[in-house]
């Protein structure tokens, strides 16, 4: 077992060696611009891009022509939401999204509010799930777009995308989903789920950074977007800019691998995740899983370790790469807004750790991490005045 151990797969994933192999020729001899129409370098690049487009489309049940390559999921979210909102402004100016969305969605919606759009931010329950009745009630004749993420990046909670898609379709509202964490990890099919737009990212599924895609439905209904980047008219005019050929090839290969191995991999990774939780519970009391365990990505575990602050925990496990919802670890010095939205108190939000397990984690690593966590949490609790107070209260209750 090698240290440090990487267990932060919601942040990014390592590039699969098979993906890297597929990409390398496109940095070397096949360096052409996919838009060059007059020589073999360009044709080769274009061919590679079109093959990748098919691979990405196949992962999500789309057709190749519905895939727009972008620089990543943040751009995809921006393009989908701004592009659709502005394109259909004459139809209406109302957008519905959810408070636990990624900032790429929330900040895009805030931006549109400054342009005069109305945005409804739906709450979530304690389990992190949206209430479908609330969603239905939020739709008005002015609503043109619903954006709900498929799986959350902090708590891994999987939203009822098929149900939301059905509601959106019935009401004639476009449905965008940020499927960055879900695609390649759990079954995701744009046809079966009535998804009109879906944001994807290569580096969350063992592909390279700097490349993503937006699925844009071409029929029933045909979705049109106002571009946010103007230029040479690449990608059906929706996203100008020379294509990142090696990145796109990598994303294609990553999609192909994910599609082929998802069924087996998700069972194995969920097994590792459950083993980790069992290991933590075996050694510690008062630990709380944040968000639904039932509707959850296989590789996600988000746990609050009561009485212990998250950043100090991370310091104690410096040979393990995980994340915390503690304010001290965020750029804004606020505890996780996702955990807050679930109704997790600030104290427990400060005490949260996100484990993101993936393709390359092993049982040995899981056991090491569980053991290390138990050891560090125990040590920090001995140092925690809150733990002491809680013990005093408990023994006071026992005495009376």
């Amino acid at each position: 077992m090698n240290l440090p151990i990487y267990m932060d797969c919601h942040a990014t994933t390592p590039v699969d060696p098979r993906v890297l192999e597929a990409m390398l020729p496109y940095f070397r001899e096949r360096f052409g611009n996919a838009a060059s129409r007059n020589h073999s370098f360009g044709w080769q690049a274009e061919e590679a891009v079109e093959a990748a487009r098919k691979q990405v489309a196949a992962l999500i049940g789309a057709t190749a022509r519905e895939i727009i390559f972008t620089s990543g999921a943040t751009e995809s979210d921006n393009l989908a939401i701004k592009g659709a909102a502005r394109m259909y402004r004459e139809k209406g100016d109302h957008i519905i999204t959810v408070v636990t969305e990624h900032k790429a969605v929330l900040d895009t919606c805030k931006h549109l509010q400054k342009e005069g759009f109305q945005v409804t931010y739906l709450p979530v329950g304690r389990d992190g799930l949206v209430d479908l009745d609330q969603l239905r009630d939020a739709i008005t004749p002015k609503t043109t777009l619903i954006s709900v993420m498929a799986a959350n990046n902090e708590i891994g909670v999987v939203q009822p995308i098929a149900e939301i898609g059905r509601i959106a379709r019935e009401r004639g509202v476009l449905f965008h989903t940020d499927a960055v964490q879900a695609a390649g990890k759990i079954p995701f099919d744009v046809e079966a789920m009535n998804v009109d737009m879906a944001s994807l990212s290569a580096h969350k599924m063992y592909g390279p950074k700097g490349v993503g895609a937006l699925y844009v439905r071409r029929k029933n209904p045909r979705v049109l977007l106002e571009p946010i980047i103007d230029g040479g008219g690449h990608e059906r005019g929706m996203r100008s800019g020379t294509l990142n050929v090696p990145g796109i090839v990598g994303m294609g290969k990553a999609s192909e691998i994910a599609a082929a191995e998802m069924a087996e991999e998700s069972v194995r990774v969920a097994g590792l995740r459950d083993r980790l939780l069992a290991g933590l519970r075996g050694g510690l009391d008062e630990i709380y899983v944040n968000g639904s365990m039932e509707h959850r990505l296989p590789g996600n575990l988000n746990v609050s370790f009561a009485y212990v602050e998250g950043e100090s925990l991370l310091m104690g496990i410096s040979d393990v790469a995980v994340s915390s919802g503690s304010a001290c670890t965020s750029a804004t010095l606020e505890p996780s807004y996702v955990l807050r939205a679930l109704g997790v108190g600030d104290e427990l939000a400060h005490s949260s750790i996100r484990f993101g397990l993936g393709r390359f984690n092993t049982e040995e690593e899981v056991d090491y991490v569980a053991g290390k966590m138990v050891q560090v949490v125990t040590r920090l609790r001995e140092m925690s005045p809150l733990y002491e107070l809680a013990r005093e209260k408990a023994s006071g209750r026992a005495a009376t």
């Binding site: 009485y307 100090s312 001290c328 104290e347 005045p385 733990y387």
Partner: protein, 152 residues
Amino acid sequence: MTMSYSDKVLEHYNNPRNVGSLPKDDVTVGTGLVGAPECGDVMKLQVKVDPETGVIADAKFKTFGCGSAIASSSLATEWLKGKTLDQALEIKNVDIVNELSLPPVKIHCSVLAEDAIKAAIADYKRKQAEAEQGHDNGTAPAGGGTAAAGVR
């Protein structure tokens, strides 16, 4: 951003000095409890004072907070031992910032440590004043500060 701890912060985090608790009902013990769990920082700092000499004989802490908060309170207990109450009150948060090379985002940890020292000493003085009143029926010599300033 968060992982650039100074060696001294790491040292205190890995080998904290004086972790523990003193009997809080002891009249020679002053307890300061500052911070708020919602904010991610709570420090409990205690001093045991020799009433004859006014010198801090022992100091203990418990901290819920980041590594810098733990290090700040650990350092504070180290500095408090052997100091008179007046000397202890001269410890300023900037001294802690400098000693631990705390970055700007962690200055509040040092402020909390300074507050904890002040609260612990105020609590000791209050207890002493009360004890004196109780025994001699006299007047309190020092103003009674409130312990646990600002907690919760």
